[in-house]
Amino acid sequence: MADETTAGPVTTLATPIRLDFDFTPGVAQSRFLRGLEQGKFMGQRCPSCGKVYVPSRGSCPTDGVPTTEDVLLSNVGTVTTYCVVNVPFAGQSIEIPYICAQVLLDGANVSFMGLIQEIPADQIRMGMRVEAVWVDESELTPSLASVRYFRPNGETDADYETYKEYL
């Protein structure tokens, strides 16, 4: 043990901090989160450009108008692009390496980030068709934690032309 009287001056010390906060999702995101609680993906369509957002923030970022029409989306989508995460970090809950993909749900016009499982990390492909795997009904919550992960659903890969504008 170092002699505390002769050790060098203290220049830094780690002071862990914790932040707990209440999150107020607002009307549009509440609809998305309530959908997750029921095991389904809810999006909204822009009345001007017709694009479907999931999750929707209640307005179209391109047209600036409220998105009022609710759209029930498919449980199935396409991997537009991905990376394989091999970096350990504090608070990580998934075993590395894991696949972090952009998933474009059928019927949606924006992709979101999802975990892909049930396939070796080196076999994932752009264009792969995947389906959401949900937690047990009793464990559903208004959070993306309700989606355990996505997995390949066995369909033929989507053609690059069909998703290239969603990269």
């Binding site: 901090i17 989160l33 450009c49 990376c83 995460v85 970096v87 924006v110 993306l144």
Partner: protein, 384 residues
């Protein structure tokens, strides 16, 4: 621009993984004192201070500009804080320049910094939110899928990223302030480094650095300093939403619009021909070919061909990141300002061993967030 504005002093710290000999205040003061000395001015000559850094959560100091005011001689003077994520160093310089071009002030000190050793950027970037899955493993995890999409779209061979990683680290050997000095860097060393976010390897990513950058900007009637001024010929900022249908993250519209604006101001119609060099925010190797296209240095899909042909190398026709760039030093908040500062050094002829011969006109670019914030300026040795 109403009033002409020029860079008359520059300063930067030696960027390192840990500056445990100074606090944040000591770090920013070090760069600021160098910039004042270069401009041949003292603290009392400065009218206002503009400061920027990446999000406060990184070091956990909320509104650090308030506590840093005494260290920067700003007590009793106007002080302005800028926030635009990773592009903030560039945006901060632009806000400072606007205070001169609008005629409000004569001399403005602008400073940007990050002390990553006091921080946990990975934690700060991975705050749990109920509408997002907890998958994001730092910035690399965000950008790697877009890099893969670029490779697919352009058909670029996979070794291009390694070429950029080697080129920028070789350039850093000429820059005494650079964080990474890797004398033995070569393609094999990059290829042998750990795969972090497939397709991105450890040596294709930027380091985590402590560091600060500072500049003194001046109006035309207040020029001073040991080197000729670097005149600002154009400056612009643009942003776009993080998410919208049809968003092109490989070639963002905000970046295209920002360069169109700054080129129009500076009379640039052919960037590859007209610029003598450029300092562009490349935190991950593949962002060089992507930004070559976004900034109009070549046609869409051809960025990687310029890199492959050596056009962007130190001895190429359009050297990019002669300083070693973000891949060699990344004090996040300061990284954008370093791009702006390095091109000022080039056109002032003060870049030492990494001086591009006869550099007269140069582009500085910074980007941030999920590729949604852009800041650019064009500086020249001649008056605009």
């Amino acid at each position: 621009m109403a009033e002409r504005c020029a860079v008359i002093g520059v300063g930067q710290t030696h960027h390192k993984s840990k500056r445990d000999d100074v606090s944040i205040a000591g770090l920013v003061r070090e760069a600021a004192k160098m910039a004042l000395a270069d401009a041949d001015l003292t603290w009392s000559d400065i009218d206002a201070v503009v400061i920027g850094k990446a999000p406060d959560m990184f070091e956990g100091n909320m509104m650090p500009e308030i506590y840093l005011a005494p260290a920067l001689g700003a007590v009793g003077k106007p002080m302005f804080r800028v926030h635009t994520a990773g592009s903030v160093g560039g945006s901060t310089a632009l806000v400072a320049a606007h205070l001169i071009s609008s005629g409000i002030h004569k001399r403005v000190l602008t400073v940007a910094y990050e002390k990553q050793s006091d921080s946990d950027a990975m934690w700060a970037l991975s705050v749990p939110q109920p509408f997002a899955a907890p998958l994001l493993a730092g910035a690399g995890g965000y950008f790697a899928p877009h890099i893969r999409a670029y490779m697919r779209r352009s058909g670029a061979p996979e070794y291009i990223g390694r070429m950029v990683a080697v080129k920028d680290r070789k350039n850093a050997m000429r820059n005494p302030y650079a964080h990474l000095h890797l004398p033995d860097i070569d393609m094999k060393m990059v290829e042998d480094s750990m795969m972090l976010w497939d397709p991105l390897r450890y040596l294709e990513a930027c380091p985590s650095s402590d560091g600060a950058a500072a500049m003194v900007l001046s109006s035309e009637d207040a020029i001073s300093g040991h080197y000729p001024p670097a005149w600002i010929h154009g400056m612009a900022m643009r942003s776009e939403p993080t998410m919208f249908a049809g968003r092109d993250q490989i070639n963002p519209q905000a970046g295209r619009d920002c360069s169109a604006d700054v080129y129009a101001q500076a009379g640039i119609t052919n960037p590859r021909e007209q610029f003598d060099c450029a300092e562009v925010y490349v935190p991950f190797s593949w962002y060089e070919p992507m930004w070559l296209e976004n900034l109009g240095f070549c046609d869409l899909g051809d960025g990687w061909k310029l890199t492959e042909a050596g056009a962007t190398a130190f001895d190429g026709d359009i050297p990019w990141n002669a300083s070693g760039g973000v891949l060699s030093s990344n004090p996040i908040g300061a990284s954008g300002m370093l791009r702006f500062l390095e091109v000022a050094m080039q056109v002032r002829g003060q870049a030492g061993e990494h001086q591009v011969d006869g550099a007269k006109l140069a582009l500085g670019q910074a980007y941030g967030g999920g590729s949604q914030f852009f800041a650019m300026w064009v500086v020249g040795s001649e008056k605009p």
